[in-house]
């Protein structure tokens, strides 16, 4: 059982004690008395050992009573609370996963150590939970060992951009049921959180210059790099920018050029660019390090696109419309159809997507369109069907508007168990996705557009362009050819399904010399700026890339602040866990009795002293 004071200000009542001592000392200052009977006094008592004042204080009954009353009163006013041995609480610590916290990891750990040890005093037993505000990040620690939690904090690396911590706080609140605990958000700037959440902000405004982004522009065989450097602070800054390929020292000049002095005024953002050195796949850009190193390095790889090859096997205006729409999508190349000898779309050819009439056998991805003209409809385009177009809930058609599509009735399609309708016109599917299962287990998808494209407004409908673009991207994700690109940290990267793929991510800080062990690829780019590759072990990588910080707001530390609102929570938690002093009536009685004695003692002693005495 431990003790704490619910109202420590009540201890101010103890200030009455020196006041009482002072008043009594003034009242009872030792007086000098001339006497003729000193030899008799010497027989009456010993002189005080601790000094006259101390001895007097020891013997003064009114003073002792008043001091006792003051002590009891201070005790009462301080509202002592006792925390029982069985008390238990849960403290959920939520770390702000924003990259800006990287600059304050050490202060955060120290502040957490201090604050959490104090929070632990609110109950005899504490269960600790450590989470981050990252949406997909697993809890870092769960247990009853505070040192274990702090060790997990030591290992933690914040990498995300600005994000909403509310979901993580709600999750943490769910871990403290019944109010027997508290939620602590550790951040570096003011946070708008519910009142039940304590905030431990450990930030301070610091000067920072960093990369806000970068890319590579490829024009034919030539390429140029572009990087954006920003100074969000309120003071002008000057930094040195060095550019080097991986493997070259960061501190010396490099093959790509000499050091570049960069001067940035307060709030200024500058874009720097230069030609991509031939024979180099990757460039590393280093700014002179400052307190926030997360954005001081940037890597760019020369992009190697993953082109989607499209073959048009649909003569006439309909094939032309669809071909133009597909070509409008980025990374699409219209190729001559060289693989249709067997009459099977996608089989043996170089095209990734084949545009062909409905009914054409397919062995790969295809866009199949009804060949209305081939059916010899001399009457011309089919009459318009006024039935509205309804869209399914599918990523290919989500958020697209089909109200402007005027067409005839949907061409009847034969049923297939793999059909996934996208659009309906009346009772007939207007567009659907159909999978073709291959012997090797893969199932390329075909997009079936079951209406007369040329005889409708589809050529002017943006929704169809987007639908085709989404389909192209879906097909691109399944293309298994080496490619390279630049990504944001933690960006999702669509790759062909390959369970054995490994991710090799080399942090920029160690890109010069370090080697790292590959980890299973989880469909996302590395969470920190890095140069990485994805591919099967021991083989040529399917993907080479570089990641860069996703959110330039994380580089802005003007709003960083230090704040600690945990004390109120701690107090509240302790009050919930504790029981009040059951001896309050006794202390009140003591106060009353002590004051009564202090008040009545002088009169009683005077009466006793007035007892008659005679000449012996």
């Amino acid at each position: 059982m431990s003790l704490f004071l619910a109202n420590p200000w009540g201890l101010l009542a103890l200030a009455a004690i020196p006041a009482l001592l002072g008043i009594h000392a003034l009242q009872q200052r030792s007086r000098r008395v001339r006497t003729s009977t000193l030899f008799l006094i010497e027989h009456a008592g010993r002189p005080p050992e601790g000094g006259l004042r101390l001895e007097w204080v020891r013997r003064s009954v009114p003073l002792l009573m008043q001091i006792s009353a003051s002590l009891a009163l201070a005790w009462l006013l301080a509202e002592p609370q006792f925390v029982g041995r069985q008390s238990r609480q849960t403290v959920a610590v939520v770390l702000d996963a924003s990259a800006s916290m990287e600059a304050f990891r050490s202060p955060a750990r120290q502040a957490l150590g201090r604050s959490l040890r104090r929070l632990a005093g609110a109950a005899q037993n504490t269960d600790w939970r450590l989470l981050t505000t990252g949406p997909r990040q697993a809890p870092l620690y769960a247990g009853s060992d505070l040192d274990g939690l702090l060790a997990a904090v030591e290992r933690w690396q914040p990498v995300l951009g600005t994000h909403d911590p509310t979901p993580a706080l709600a999750t943490a609140a769910g871990l403290t049921p019944g109010g027997r605990g508290m939620v602590v958000l550790v951040t570096d700037r003011p946070a708008d959180v519910p009142g039940s959440v304590g905030v431990l902000a450990v930030g301070t405004p610091i000067d920072n210059v960093g990369f806000a982004g970068g890319d590579v522009v490829v024009e034919g065989d030539d390429a140029r790099w572009r990087v954006v450097v920003t100074n969000p602070g309120e003071r002008g800054q000057e930094r040195t920018l060095r550019i080097r390929p991986p493997g070259a020292g960061a501190s010396a000049g490099n093959a790509a050029g000499e050091a570049i002095a960069v001067r940035l005024e307060p709030g200024q953002t500058r874009m720097l660019e230069g030609g991509w050195p031939p024979g180099t796949d990757t460039l590393l850009f280093d700014l002179a390090p400052d307190a926030f190193t997360f954005d001081d390095s940037l890597a760019l790889v020369r992009p190697r696109p993953r082109l989607v090859r499209v073959a048009i096997r649909f003569p006439g205006p309909t094939g032309g419309v669809i071909g133009r729409m597909l070509a409008a999508a980025p990374g699409v190349e219209i190729v001559a159809d060289g693989g249709a000898a067997d009459g099977i779309a996608g089989a043996g050819g170089t095209a990734d997507i084949v545009v062909a009439p409905l009914g054409t056998p397919v062995d790969g991805a295809a866009v199949l369109i009804p060949d209305v003209g081939a059916e010899g409809d001399a009457a011309g385009p089919a009459p318009l069907d006024s039935s509205p177009v309804a869209a399914e809930d599918d990523p290919l058609v989500n958020d697209l508007g089909w109200g402007g599509l005027l067409s005839g009735a949907a061409v009847p399609l034969d049923d297939d168990p793999t059909d996934r309708p996208l659009l309906w016109k009346g009772p007939q599917p207007l567009a659907l996705v159909r999978a073709t299962r291959r012997p090797d287990g893969t199932a390329p998808e075909s997009l079936l557009l079951a209406w007369d494209i040329a005889g409708s407004t589809a050529g002017r409908l943006p929704a169809l362009v987007v639908l085709l673009t989404r389909f192209v991207e879906r097909v691109r994700a399944g293309i298994d050819r080496p490619w390279a690109g630049n990504f944001l940290v933690d960006e999702a990267i669509a790759m062909p399904s390959a369970a054995g793929d490994r991710l090799t991510a080399v942090p920029l800080a160690t890109a010069a010399s370090g080697t790292v062990s590959p980890v299973p690829y989880r469909g996302r780019a590395p969470a920190r700026p890095a140069v990485f590759s994805v591919g099967p072990p021991g083989a040529e990588p399917r993907l080479r890339g570089a990641t860069q910080a996703a959110d330039a707001r994380e580089s802005d530390f003007r709003a960083a602040t230090t704040l600690d609102t945990l004390e109120g929570l701690r107090h509240e938690a302790r009050v919930k866990q504790a029981i009040a002093d059951p001896w309050v009536p006794a202390w009140l009685a003591l106060v009353a009795v002590a004051l009564a004695i202090a008040w009545g003692w002088p009169a009683w002693r005077s009466a006793r002293a007035r007892s008659p005495s005679t000449t012996a």
């Binding site: 009872q28 030792s30 007086r31 027989h43 008592g45 006259l52 007097w56 000449t615 012996a616």
Partner: protein
């Protein structure tokens, strides 16, 4: 202190009360008080056979005729009794106004009473300063109220037991000691010298309320009025009771020692009217007597 006024009051008090000179036999020059020896008063004392050289005027002729031998009549001697008045002039005698006044009252009462009864007075001032010897104060100076009263503070005041032996007591005198006896001297030792050389002694001790029933604060720094020695003391009920006991015991020892040596001993309150105070312990103990009593 207005000594003439005190003197005048004591001159009147001496008509109401007196020292016990009327009783006993005294030594001294011829006077009006019965002496120890034979003299020429009219008070018959004894008779004895005539021896050569006797005054023939005192031959008891009737007895001589009856017995055939010359028999002499002897009459009491009438003397002027020697009165040695020793006044303790230490600072403690004057520590409180009432006590100081009582001291002067006692001194002048003894002087006036001695004079009225034909006593042959010798007044001795008993100081306490180190090395100071008891000094006689001429009667004329006393009657002119010319007393040396200033008693300097001394580091080691003389004890009463050391001082009294140096008093030039006259043989057969009435020794009167006016002193508060507040002195660590053993009463037995101090009183020994009072009754030496055939004298009779009286001790009159003025007692002040401040000494008998002190009203000290709780924390006191005491300063001895004679030696200036200091002592810090917490005065609680325990100290008060022990002091009271020590005070009573001190005077009980004096009273016991006086009784053992036939010394008249009386304490007189410093407060109140003088004659009323005399009617207390002094009168009861025979240190004074009323006129005609």
């Amino acid at each position: 202190m207005n000594l003439p006024a005190i003197h005048a009051r004591m001159r009147h008090a001496a008509t109401v009360a007196r020292l016990p000179l009327a009783r006993g036999r005294w030594s001294g020059p011829a006077g009006g008080v019965a002496g120890r020896g034979t003299g020429s008063s009219i008070d018959f004392q004894d008779q004895r056979p005539y021896v050569a050289g006797d005054d023939p005027r005192h031959i008891n002729w009737t007895a001589s005729a009856r017995t055939g031998f010359h028999t002499m009549k002897l009459y009491h001697e009438e003397v002027s009794p020697r009165v040695d008045l020793v006044v303790d002039m230490s600072a403690s005698m004057f520590i409180a106004p009432a006590k100081a006044e009582r001291t002067w009252e006692l001194a002048y009462f003894c002087v006036e009473s001695g004079i009225r009864q034909g006593g042959h007075l010798r007044i001795i001032r008993l100081g306490r300063s180190a090395g100071e010897a008891p000094a006689e104060v001429p009667l004329a100076a006393v009657l002119a109220h010319d007393w040396p009263t200033a008693e300097p503070v001394t580091a080691a005041p003389q004890l009463l037991a050391d001082h009294l032996p140096r008093v030039p007591w006259r043989p057969g005198s009435l020794r009167i000691l006016v002193s508060d006896l507040l002195d660590p001297s053993p009463p037995d030792a101090a009183s020994t010298h009072l009754a030496a050389r055939g004298g009779r002694a009286l001790v009159i001790a003025p007692a002040a309320r401040e000494e008998r029933d002190p009203d000290w604060p709780d924390a006191v720094e005491f300063e001895d009025c004679e030696s200036a020695a200091r002592r810090r003391q917490i005065v609680d009920e325990h100290v008060r009771s022990r002091y009271a006991a020590a005070y009573r015991r001190h005077f009980a020892l004096w009273r016991e020692a006086a009784l053992r040596r036939g010394i008249g001993f009386a304490r007189i309150d410093a407060e109140g009217e003088f004659l009323a105070a005399l009617r207390g312990d002094p009168l009861a103990s025979g240190v004074v007597e009323t006129m005609g009593g």
